[in-house]
C-alpha cells in the first residue's frame, strides 16, 4: 500500500531539473500584456488629483485603468467588500493600488506605474494598535470576549500573581514565488485564469464579480505555488481580477506578477499583537486564573482578521487546563497593509501569550519550567484526574497526547542533564550565556467557519487502467498532491505510476475551500477516498457478477483485482468494466463531522481534534552585542498515523525554522509615515542556511488519530510552526542568566531586543 511510504514530492524531478512550471514560467502568446499597479505614497487621505499622462505616454503602455474604468464591482475583499481593487478616491495605507497599467513588458509596466502624478489631501494615519484603540478604530462593534469562570476573582484570590505586557510582531510570508496570475480571454466573454493561489474558488468568485459575469464564465487553474503559507489565501485576488479585466477588455492574454518589493509593500502579513496578561497561581504553580488582552493589528481592511483573532483566543490556553480564564480581543483597524492569513492563523499569537505566562510564572517561583507546564497540562485520555478538562470555549479535550510526548522528548534530548550542565557553564561565563527551553503545542484542527470544512474530488479510471486524480486542494510545496495520490493508489491497490496528479481546476471540482487551516490532506484525502471507493464498488459489482462470486469479497491489492479465484490485473479489470458499460468516473465529497461552533458566544466544538507537538531549543547569547545562535533543537511531533513520514518531517522542520524566524530575526519596521522600511530580503531577515540549528533532531510521535480521519493521520501544516516558540523562550532563559529580574523579552527577539533585555536584566536599564 502506498500510504505511509516515504515517497518524495510529486514534482521532485521537475524541481531539480528546473522544469516545474510556475505562473511566470508558462509560455505566453506574443501579444501578452503585462500589468503593474501604481501605488499610493501616503498612508491615509484623499486623492485630490491624479494626472496619468506621463504613465500613458511611457514606452510600451497599452492601457491605463482607474476605478472609473472597471466594468463591474471594484472589490477584492474575501469578506466584507471593503477592499477596492483600485482606490475609490480614499487612501488607507501606503502602497495601496491606485491605478493599473497594461504594457508590452513587465518592466515597461513597472516603469510606467512609477510615473503617476498624484496629489493628496493627507490625513493623520493610525499606525499602532494603541492609536487605533484610542480612536476606537476597529472591526466589529466592540471586543470579542471568551471566558470561563471568574478569572478576576480567581487571580485576586490566588497566593501569587504575575502580570505583564509585550509586543508580538507580525511576519512577512516571503513565499519565494511572489504573487502571480495570468488570464486568457475565451469566446463570449469567458476567461481562463491561471493563478498562484491557495483558493481557486475565491479567485473564480472575485473574478466573476469583477467582470460582472456568473461564476460559470470563469475557470481557474492552479498547478502549483512557489510557497503559500497563508499569503496566497486572499492576497492573489487583486492580480487575478486585474488580469481578467484587461484580458476581456483587450482580447489579449494578460499577466501580472509582483516584484518582490511591490509584493511586500502591497500584500498583507501575519497580524501583529500587543498582549497583556495577569495570572494567579498557587505556590506549586497551578494556574488558577488568567486574563488576556489581545490588541490585534488588522491593518486597513477586514480580510480574514476576525477568524484570525478568534483562533488566537482559541489557543490562549494552549496545553493547559486553566480553571478560570478571560480573553478580551480588540480587532483594530490601522493604516497599514491588511494583515491576513499566515500559517497558524492567529493560533501562534494566542499560544505565545500563555507560554509567556508560563515562562514568567516559572521565573517567579524559581521552578523548572517543564515541571510547571506538566502540572498544568490537560489530562491524558487514560488518566483522568481533573474534574474539568474542557477548554475555555467548552470543548472537552479527549485526545491529549502531551504527557507521553513530553516525557519521551525530555529523555531523548537529555534535557535534565543539559539543563544542569548549562547552569554550571553559565556560572563560569560572564559574556556568553546559554539558555534552554521547552514548549508544547496543542493545535485545533478544522476551519472555525464550520461550513468551510468540506471538500470534493473527481476521479477517472481510463480504459487502460490509468487513473486521473483531481481534488479541491492546492499544492504549495507541502506535498499534499503526493499524499492524496498515495490515498488513491492505496484504495485501488495499484502503483503510484498509474495515478496522474492534475492541477486544481474549478471546472473539475467546484465550490472548494482554501487549502488552509492545515486541512488539505484531511479533507481532500477523504473526498478522494470516497470517490475511489465508489469506483471500486462499481467495479466489484460488475466483476463479481461476471465471475459468479460475492461483490464484498472482491479485493484490490498488489496491482490486481481479486475476484473469487480470479486474479485480474487492474488495467485489465478497468478494460473489462469499460466494455461492460460501467461508469469509471466518480466524484467524492466529504464534510468533517461533529463540529458545532458559536463564535459570538465562544462556545461549542470548533475543532474535530487536536494535533500535538513538543520542542526543546538551546541557544547562546552574547552580552555585548545581543547576537545569538540556536545550538540545538529537539522535536517530537504528532502527525497521527502519518500518510508520508518524509513529507511530514519536512513540514515539521520547515515550520519550526519559520516559527523561530518569526520570533527572532524577522522584524517588520514601518516609519512614522507608514512606509514599510523592511520591503525586501536586504532589510527583512528570514532564516538562512547558516541559521539552522547546529543540531536538529526531529521525530514523529508514534500514534494514531483517535478520530476517524484519513488512515488515522493528522494535519501537519500549521501545528509545528508553534514549536518555534521554544527558541524565543530559550532566549528568555539565556537572558535571565545575566541577572535576577524577569527578562520580559518582546518578539521578535532581534539581536537589538536581546541586547536591550540583557541590559534590563543585568543593569536595570
Amino acid at each position: 500500500m502506498s500510504v505511509a511510504k516515504p515517497l518524495p514530492h510529486d514534482a521532485a524531478k521537475l524541481h531539480v531539473t528546473g522544469t516545474a512550471r510556475y505562473i511566470d514560467d508558462i509560455p505566453v502568446p506574443a501579444d501578452c500584456l503585462h500589468l503593474a499597479f501604481g501605488l499610493s505614497t501616503i498612508a491615509k487621505g484623499r486623492i485630490t488629483a491624479m494626472d496619468l499622462d506621463a504613465v500613458r505616454n511611457s514606452p510600451g503602455v497599452v492601457d491605463v485603468l482607474t476605478a472609473d474604468d472597471l466594468p463591474a464591482e471594484n472589490d477584492v475583499s474575501p469578506s466584507i467588500h471593503d477592499e477596492p481593487l483600485l482606490s475609490d478616491g480614499s487612501v488607507h495605507y501606503l502602497g495601496q493600488p491606485l491605478f493599473l497599467v497594461a504594457a508590452t513588458s513587465h518592466r515597461a509596466a513597472r516603469v510606467a506605474a512609477s510615473k503617476g502624478d498624484v496629489t493628496y489631501d493627507e490625513e493623520e494615519a493610525l499606525l499602532t494598535v494603541e492609536a487605533a484603540l484610542q480612536a476606537n478604530s476597529r472591526f466589529e462593534d466592540g471586543p470579542r470576549i471568551y471566558s470561563k469562570g471568574d478569572a478576576a476573582a480567581a487571580i485576586d484570590g490566588a497566593a501569587r500573581m504575575v502580570e505583564g505586557s509585550f509586543d508580538l510582531g507580525g511576519q512577512e510570508h516571503f513565499y519565494l514565488e511572489s504573487q502571480a496570475a495570468m488570464a486568457m480571454p475565451q469566446e463570449s466573454g469567458d476567461v481562463l485564469v491561471a493563478s498562484s493561489t491557495q483558493h481557486p474558488t475565491e479567485i473564480q468568485h472575485k473574478v466573476a464579480d469583477g467582470l460582472g459575469v456568473p461564476m460559470h464564465s470563469v475557470r481557474v487553474e492552479t498547478r502549483r505555488m512557489g510557497g503559500g503559507f497563508g499569503g496566497k489565501e486572499s492576497q492573489g485576488n487583486a492580480l487575478a481580477v486585474s488580469c481578467a479585466i484587461v484580458a476581456v477588455k483587450t482580447g489579449r492574454a494578460a499577466k501580472m506578477r509582483y516584484d518582490r518589493d511591490d509584493d511586500m509593500v502591497i500584500t498583507g502579513k501575519r497580524h501583529a499583537f500587543k498582549i497583556s496578561y495577569r495570572a494567579g497561581f498557587d505556590e506549586e504553580g497551578h494556574l488558577q486564573g488568567v486574563e488576556f488582552l489581545h490588541l490585534v493589528n488588522c491593518g486597513w481592511a477586514q480580510d480574514l482578521s476576525l477568524p484570525v483573532a478568534d483562533r488566537a483566543m482559541l489557543h490562549a490556553d494552549n496545553a493547559y487546563a486553566i480553571p478560570a480564564i478571560r480573553i478580551e480581543s480588540h480587532r483594530l483597524k490601522t493604516n497599514l497593509q491588511s494583515f491576513t492569513a499566515y500559517r497558524g492563523f492567529g493560533g501562534p499569537q494566542g499560544m505565545v501569550g500563555i507560554e509567556r505566562v508560563m515562562d514568567h510564572v516559572a521565573h517567579d517561583l524559581g521552578i523548572d519550567p517543564v515541571e510547571l507546564r506538566k502540572r498544568n497540562y490537560y489530562d491524558a485520555p487514560d488518566n483522568r484526574v481533573r474534574a474539568d478538562n474542557t477548554t475555555p470555549y467548552g470543548q472537552e479535550v479527549i485526545d491529549f497526547e502531551l504527557h507521553g510526548m513530553t516525557d519521551k522528548l525530555l529523555d531523548t534530548s537529555n534535557y535534565a542533564t543539559r539543563k544542569a550542565e548549562i547552569a554550571e557553564w553559565n556560572a563560569k561565563n560572564d559574556r556568553l550565556k546559554r539558555g534552554i527551553a521547552f514548549s508544547p503545542v496543542k493545535f485545533g484542527i478544522s476551519f472555525t467557519l464550520t461550513h468551510l470544512n468540506q471538500a470534493g474530488a473527481l476521479v477517472h479510471i481510463y480504459q487502460d487502467g490509468s487513473v486521473h486524480l483531481n481534488h479541491g486542494g492546492t499544492e504549495m510545496g507541502q506535498g499534499l498532491f503526493q499524499k492524496v495520490a498515495q490515498v488513491a493508489a492505496s484504495r485501488f491497490g495499484i502503483g503510484m505510476h498509474l495515478v496522474k496528479i492534475t492541477a486544481t481546476d474549478t471546472a473539475k471540482v467546484p465550490n472548494t475551500s482554501a487549502t488552509a487551516a492545515s486541512s488539505g490532506a484531511d479533507l481532500n484525502g477523504m473526498a478522494v477516498k470516497v470517490a475511489c471507493d465508489t469506483l471500486r464498488d462499481r467495479m466489484a459489482a460488475y466483476l463479481s457478477e461476471q465471475h459468479q462470486c460475492d461483490a464484498a469479497s472482491v479485493r484490490f491489492e498488489g496491482g490486481n483485482v481479486h475476484v473469487g479465484e480470479n486474479v485480474i490485473p487492474f488495467e485489465k479489470a478497468a478494460a473489462q468494466c469499460y466494455q461492460g458499460r460501467i461508469s469509471l468516473s466518480a466524484t467524492g465529497f466529504y464534510k468533517t463531522p461533529k463540529l458545532k461552533w458559536d463564535r459570538i458566544k465562544g462556545e461549542g466544538r470548533p475543532f474535530f481534534y487536536f494535533s500535538y507537538g513538543a520542542a526543546i531549543t538551546e541557544v547562546v547569547t552574547d552580552k555585548l552585542t545581543g547576537e545569538y545562535r540556536i545550538l540545538r533543537t529537539d522535536i517530537l511531533h504528532d502527525a497521527g498515523a502519518t500518510l508520508n513520514p518524509v513529507l511530514d518531517i519536512g513540514q515539521v522542520e520547515g515550520a519550526y525554522v519559520q516559527g523561530a524566524g518569526w520570533l527572532t530575526t524577522e522584524e517588520l519596521v514601518w516609519n512614522d509615515k507608514g512606509r514599510l522600511a523592511t520591503h525586501a530580503p536586504s532589510t527583512y531577515k528570514i532564516p538562512a542556511c547558516s541559521d539552522r540549528p547546529d543540531v536538529f533532531n526531529v521525530d514523529l510521535w508514534d500514534g494514531k488519530n483517535r478520530e476517524d480521519t484519513i488512515y488515522r493521520s493528522k494535519a501537519v501544516g500549521e501545528p509545528p510552526f508553534n514549536l518555534g516558540i521554544s527558541a524565543w523562550l530559550a532566549l528568555s532563559d539565556a537572558v535571565g542568566a545575566y541577572g535576577d529580574a524577569y527578562p520580559a523579552i518582546n518578539a521578535p527577539a532581534t539581536s537589538e531586543e536581546v541586547w536591550r533585555s540583557i541590559r534590563r536584566v543585568s543593569d536595570g536599564v
Binding site: 528546473g18 519565494l176 520547515g654 542556511c689
Partner: protein, 159 residues
C-alpha cells in the same frame, strides 16, 4: 535603446541573442531563451533563486546584465543533468526530500555544484555558510545540507 548582439555559451551550446543593454541575464534566460529554471525571487541579489555560473563563477543572474555574457560560459540548472541521467546532487535532493515548493531548488543546486567543484570534501559548516546566500522558506534547510553532504560523499567515491 538599440539592442546589442551577444554571442555566448549556455550549458555548452553556443547561443546568440539581441538584448537591451539594461536587460538582466536573468530576463534574457527566462524571456528570450525560455530557460525558466532560474527564478526571480527578489531581483536584488539577496535570495539566490536566480543563481547561475558565469565562467564557473557563481553569480546572481539578476545582478548580471545580458550583455555581460558576451564570450562567457553560462551554466544553468537545465544543464546539470546529462540527458535523462540526473547529477548526484539532483538525485540526492530527491532522495532526501530536500525541496518543497521548489523555487529555491535550481539556485541551490547551482550553488552546491559550484561549491563541490571547488571543494569536493566540504565540512557541514562550509556547506551551511556557502549556501547562506540561497534563501529557502519551506524546508528549514536540514535536508538540503544532508543532501549536499551525501552527494559530495558519493561524488568523491566515484572520482
Amino acid at each position: 535603446m538599440s539592442k546589442v548582439h551577444v554571442t555566448t555559451s549556455i550549458n555548452g551550446d553556443s547561443t546568440e541573442y539581441l538584448c537591451d543593454p539594461r536587460e538582466t541575464l536573468l530576463d534574457v534566460l527566462r524571456d528570450q531563451l525560455n530557460l525558466t529554471g532560474a527564478k526571480e525571487g527578489c531581483g536584488t541579489g539577496d535570495c539566490g533563486a536566480c543563481s547561475v555560473t558565469m565562467d564557473d563563477r557563481l553569480v546572481c543572474s539578476c545582478l548580471v546584465l545580458g550583455v555581460e555574457a558576451e564570450g562567457k560560459e553560462i551554466k544553468t540548472v537545465e544543464g546539470i543533468a546529462e540527458g535523462e541521467t540526473l547529477h548526484p546532487l539532483q538525485r540526492k535532493f530527491i532522495e532526501h526530500a530536500a525541496l518543497q515548493c521548489g523555487v529555491c531548488t535550481p539556485g541551490i543546486l547551482i550553488a552546491a555544484k559550484s561549491l563541490l567543484e571547488k571543494n569536493p570534501d566540504p565540512t557541514e559548516t562550509e556547506v551551511r555558510y556557502w549556501l547562506a546566500g540561497n534563501l529557502c522558506r519551506c524546508t528549514g534547510y536540514d535536508k538540503i545540507i544532508r543532501a549536499v553532504m551525501d552527494a559530495a560523499a558519493e561524488m568523491r567515491e566515484a572520482a
